[in-house]
Amino acid sequence: MTSAGETRAAIGQPLVVLDHVDKWFGQLHVLRDINLTVNRGEVVVVIGPSGSGKSTLCRAINRLETIDKGTISLDGQPLPQEGKELARLRAEVGMVFQSFNLFAHKTILENVTLGPIKVRKQKQADAERRAKELLDRVGVAHQAAKYPAQLSGGQQQRVAIARALAMEPKVMLFDEPTSALDPEMIAEVLDVMVELAEGGMTMIVVTHEMGFAREAANRVVFMADGQVVEENDPETFFTRPQSDRAKDFLGKILKH
């Protein structure tokens, strides 16, 4: 990765900034006064019980969810409201979904080249060459001509990561990327994510994979009831959680 060195060099600069963000789903206050800064090259893992708002937070960063109050900015620019400006911003933010969401009617290769060709206006040959490199990197190069439904979940999710990387995003969002996978497939996806993190990619990862958080995260953000309850480095968070809510949560998930 050519950008890794530059990204590493720029570590510490705020890249994603959420400032007093609030969101309601009807009566439900899903995000409560969220303040969060993610710096360039940083890997932030967001954990918390289901319904805590962590997925909504993740989706709000590329405006798949709108927010009702506060601001979110990327690289110093506030998120645009709609239209072409917003599309341009989303091209800078890679997103990996729980349910993969590969384009069902396109081949694996086409899935990865669609954005570069349509959004970045790359030549098809260039986009395909780059796509093959990325597919090779995530270990599914030999599946390039197949359709998503012909691949296993783990393979589909690795393609989804390659699809996001093809846009050369400034930051990658992972919304529970391993929650829909069988145990043996989780590892293959996490391996790719760890490699990305080591390469200096800025990542915001909503996950229940505590092993990944310990291994790859710079910081753990613990959310409950729409609030950021606790933020710390992984070691401190897992061994000496400060809040009762975090102690309770960790007690439940680490018991088994």
Binding site: K84, A87, R90, F97, L114, A149, R163
Partner: protein
Amino acid sequence: MDPVLDNLDLYWSGFLRSLGICLWGLVGSLALGTLIAAFRVSPIPSLRWFGTAWVTVIRNCPLTVVLFFFAFGFPELGINRSYYVFGVSALIVYTSPFVCEALRSGINAVSAGQAEAARAIGLTFTQSLGQVVLPQAFRTSIPPLGSVLIAMFKNAAVVGAFGVGQDLFSVGKGLANAQGYDALPVLTGVAVFYLLITLPAGAILALLERKVAIVR
């Protein structure tokens, strides 16, 4: 004296004329119906409103009323075209809401995640509709779209009756009325030639459905 075999050339030219109306109708109603469907799922409220109004008004009007509107209403507004153009236009307009709604059922069947993933890589609304949502929606909509299109092919006969001339229906009418042939064999001939349009259409649709099926 066989009314059909003796007039095969007339039937054939009528068939070609009717086929022409059907093909214009096919292309036009698919294009217009797709546009209206895009309006109905658009993020812009005024476009959505227009799409809904279009479907509500036109879907609930009889075809003959739409035809008369074109043929007699438009000239009063100073718009003059041949009956053929008016007839085909009316058929396209009349069929478009049905195409729109069949297509919208397909759009609704495409999982929300597909559109989200399209937006997440930076595609605009139009791009994600054109590249990701509609190609899948079309494939899912083939059965209802097929019914709509075959109904339209048959409605082409109404357009013929309305005075486009030289189509299958007019040929049948001419033979039975002006030339005094028995109506039953004449109309059977007309029906057979219509089947030459609708049966292959149905077969092509069935083939298309198998060819382009998407595994989800």
